[in-house]
């Protein structure tokens, strides 16, 4: 399977600030890929480079097999984009904006457009200046989703939508992907959305990729929390590799353990005699919080 997007070692500076610092990203054709990171991590800059709006200082970016900077028009015929912060022309109605963007892209599916306007409960007759944030978002979503583009680039597409509309968005993306095998690059903060839509995710921080892979793999990489009551104090537990944050209170212990070390640790515990045992797999939240932590990348390692 080829990659719809492949980015290696991308670097981009704005004056003294380094927005991207060797970022890697690969999105397989036909998958929904989550693109995650705290505010200011460089998500929007990456998307703008992929759209040929900005030029990287160094590194490679390929999109649908082409160079996003030099083959802009050809590539843009095959993709649709929803910007992170949607603004509309104050004097144009939502319906006009949807039609205009669709036509500029080379046509859109009219039936699907009408269907999407209904499902998102959008009033297309209102002027751009009178829409709320959520409704502006809907205009951009309808314009992108009604196109026949093979790649959708969505920058926090559900910000400002109510939970009902978020659900509609998820349904539509799932349908589109099932039907046409479209590729979706979804930058998002909403974990439920990522969990329910994305097969693979890339997490970035301070312009660098800190984690990439399927959700299952990422969970596997994370730690399990263990609380146990033992027959006798477990000597040497703190010396085992992969054990973190150990707190011992006589025969009662609680600690976090890396997934590969779990087997050894359990053996050690049974040797001491287990009275009760609670173990909890990592939640997605913990996974993300670990990466969204604001301490510098170097300090984590």
């Amino acid at each position: 399977m080829t990659d719809a997007i492949s980015v290696t070692g991308l670097v981009k500076s704005f004056g003294p600030a380094r927005a991207l610092d060797g970022l890697n990203l690969s999105v397989r054709t036909g998958e929904v890929h989550g693109f995650l990171g705290p505010n200011g991590a460089g998500k929007s800059t990456t998307l703008r480079i992929l759209l040929g709006l900005m030029r990287a200082d160094s590194g490679q970016a390929r999109l649908l097999g082409g160079d996003p900077w030099t083959e802009t028009a050809e590539l843009h015929r095959r993709l649709a984009y929803v910007p992170g912060d949607v603004t509309l022309w104050p004097g144009l109605s939502g319906g006009e904006v949807i039609d205009l963007l669709g036509r500029l892209r080379g046509g859109m599916n009219q039936t699907r457009k009408k269907d999407l306007i209904d499902r998102f409960a959008l009033d297309p007759r209102k002027k751009g200046r009178t829409y709320s944030k959520g409704n502006r978002q809907k205009v951009a979503l309808v314009a992108a989703l009604a196109s026949d583009a093979e790649l959708l680039v969505l920058d926090e597409p559900t910000s400002g939508l109510d939970p009902l509309m978020e659900e509609v968005f998820r349904e539509v993306v799932r349908e589109e992907q099932r039907r046409d095998g479209r590729t979706v690059l979804l930058s998002s903060h909403i974990l439920g959305e990522v969990e329910s839509l994305c097969e693979r995710v890339t997490i970035i921080r301070e312009g660098r990729t800190v984690e990439a892979g399927s959700l299952a793999e990422l969970r596997h990489l994370s730690r399990t929390s263990v609380q146990a009551e033992l027959a006798s104090p477990a000597a040497g537990l703190e010396d085992l590799p992969g054990v973190h944050d150990l707190r011992a209170d006589g025969a009662r212990v609680s600690f976090d353990v890396d997934a590969p070390a779990l087997d050894d640790v359990l053996r050690h515990l049974t040797a001491a005699g287990v009275r009760s045992l609670v173990s909890r797999p990592p939640t997605l939240e913990e996974l993300f919080l670990r990466h969204y932590d604001t301490t510098p990348v170097g300090a984590l390692r």
Binding site: A80, P83, L100, R103, L104
Partner: protein, 536 residues
């Protein structure tokens, strides 16, 4: 919490945001009368020469429309009369600042952000009013100081300043009303400019009537543009005019506050109509979108050029008669002011340059539209479609080149038509005035070029393109006034334009200006192709 809580804080914010704007505005408007003092001292040093000038000028309808009625021939009277266009500038800045701090903030959602803090309902309006009042007070004080420093009497100087202060207050209050009417700042600005234009015309009618002993002089009371003149600085110093002016301003403020209390955040008194659910078949290219975005400004500019062109053309004939009335004295006087050629030619030159300046301002505004789209985040969705950057940018630049062209063509043709009808020479005057207007275009395009180059190469400084226009005018004026020589005068683009129809059509300066404009546009276009977009 009362409705004005937080006004002081918002006022500091407004003054902080406008510090440059207020500095330029106040210094420029208060220095201008000093220029008139030295000009009159140089050209009409004696009482007799000044009286000659007055005798000529009171018959010149265009002068009376532009500056108001002339009440005497002392230096103070002449200088403050000649400064009669300053109330228009004060009014314009006051209106635009008011709308900027009220409706623009509301439209951008910033008022909501501020309004949710411990800030009273009317604090935003009050802070905007006070900030304009502060600016007007500075203009007023500096202008009075300038006149006193030039050796004119203090009484007249203070009355002159007071007139400008109250003009600023009245227009600030009017701006506060317009800001309540529409949901968009653009609409509010449109209404403000139409009303300012109407106020200017009303003063013109009232002034001509006063000067010729007609019965319409009372109309001056309806136009705040006329109030500063009604104070009659150095011609009676009518202090008491301040009372009706303040009462009228208070009434306008009360109306604005009432309107503000009757509407919701974000809405206007005039409800926006819903638009079409689907785009018209033609709305499918960047150019079609640009047409949608530019047509309102284009049509209003064309209408403005036509109306002003007609008014200026209609009075041109009376100027050619002046020669018969005042003869050689007037001609000598005008030659002394650095003006050559017939009185009519002088008039045409002045009006054509004025039209070219207005056209250049429009050109800069239209050329910077894509920059506004970039900053607002509207360029990004466009450029994520197969539309190439240059095609997008050029669909706007086209209006920056052809819009002023059409505007000047309308201005010249209508002026020629109105003058031709009076002079019985339509066939001769229409092409002559059309030529005199269109020959200004290379200078206008140069400003399009400056705006395009800044947008492409130094986008964060793009708004400085507007500064190029007053700078160019100022250098030309300063150079001529202080006789700094050809080099400084030559920095003004307009000084190179041949003065048709009296002068021959010299192609070289036009070709050089056009080539410079083309080079700037090419450099800007290259910049647009190569740079990141958007740059915030």
């Amino acid at each position: 919490m009362n409705t004005l809580t937080g006004t002081g804080m918002l006022l500091r914010l407004a003054l902080r945001r406008d510090r440059w704007m207020i500095a330029v505005w106040t210094v420029f408007t208060s220095v201008v009368p000093l220029g008139f003092v030295s000009a009159f001292n140089a050209t009409a040093p004696t009482a007799a020469a000044r009286q000659d000038f007055v005798d000529t000028s009171v018959h010149n309808t265009a002068f009376i429309i532009a500056y108001g009625p002339l009440h005497g021939s002392t230096l103070g009277q002449l200088v403050t009369w000649r400064a009669g266009f300053i109330p228009v500038i004060v009014g314009l800045v006051a209106l635009l600042l008011m709308i900027r701090h009220t409706r623009t903030e509301e439209e951008a959602g910033r008022l909501e952000l501020v309004g949710a803090t411990a800030v009273g309902r009317h604090a935003g309006l009050a802070a905007a009013l006070i900030s304009v009042l502060v600016g007007s007070a500075v203009v007023s004080a500096l202008s009075a100081l300038a006149l006193v420093s030039a050796g004119l009497g203090a009484g007249g100087a203070v009355v002159f300043g007071l007139g400008l202060l109250l003009t600023g207050c009245a227009f600030a209050a009017a701006g506060a009303i317009f800001a309540q009417l529409t949901a968009g700042a653009g609409g509010a600005r449109g209404i403000a400019i139409v009303v300012l234009g109407a106020a200017f015309l009303v003063r013109g009618i009232a002034s001509v009537s006063q000067q010729s002993g007609g019965s319409l002089g009372w109309l001056a009371w309806l136009s705040p543009v006329a109030w500063a003149g009604e104070f009659r600085p150095y011609a009676g110093d009518r202090w008491w005019i301040a009372v009706p002016c303040l009462l009228a301003t208070a009434a306008l403020v009360a109306l604005a506050v009432t309107l503000a209390g009757r509407r919701d955040l974000g809405s206007g008194m005039i409800q926006p109509r819903p638009g079409p659910a689907e785009a018209a078949a033609a709305l499918r290219t960047p150019l079609a979108l640009a047409w949608r975005l530019h047509r309102g400004a284009l049509f209003s500019r064309l209408a403005g050029f036509a109306v002003v062109g007609y008014a200026l053309g209609a009075v041109a004939e009376s100027i050619s008669h002046l020669l018969d009335n005042s003869g050689a004295a007037a001609r000598d006087l005008l030659a002394g002011l650095g003006l050559r050629g017939s009185l009519l030619q002088q008039y045409v030159d002045g009006m054509m340059t004025l039209a070219a300046v207005v056209a250049a301002a429009y050109a800069i505004q239209a050329a910077l539209r894509p920059r506004a789209e970039e900053v607002a985040g509207l360029a990004e969705p466009m450029l994520a479609t197969p539309v190439q950057r240059l095609r997008w940018a050029w669909s706007h630049f086209l209006f920056a080149l052809l819009g002023p062209t059409l505007g000047l063509a309308v201005f010249g043709a209508v002026l020629g038509l109105a003058h031709g009808i009076n002079a019985g020479d339509v066939a001769g005057q229409v092409p002559a005035m059309l030529g005199a207007a269109l020959v200004q275009l290379p200078a206008v395009w140069l400003f399009t070029g400056v705006a395009v180059a800044l947008f492409g190469l130094l986008p964060r400084l793009a708004a400085w393109a507007f500064a190029a226009l007053p700078l160019s005018l100022f250098l030309g004026w300063l150079g001529a006034e202080l006789q700094l020589g050809e080099f400084v005068t030559g920095l003004s683009a307009f000084s190179h334009i041949p003065k048709l129809p009296a002068e021959p059509l010299s192609v070289l300066p036009l070709a050089v200006l056009t080539a410079m404009a083309a080079a700037l546009i090419a450099a800007g276009s290259a910049g647009i192709r190569g740079r990141d977009l958007p740059i915030g």
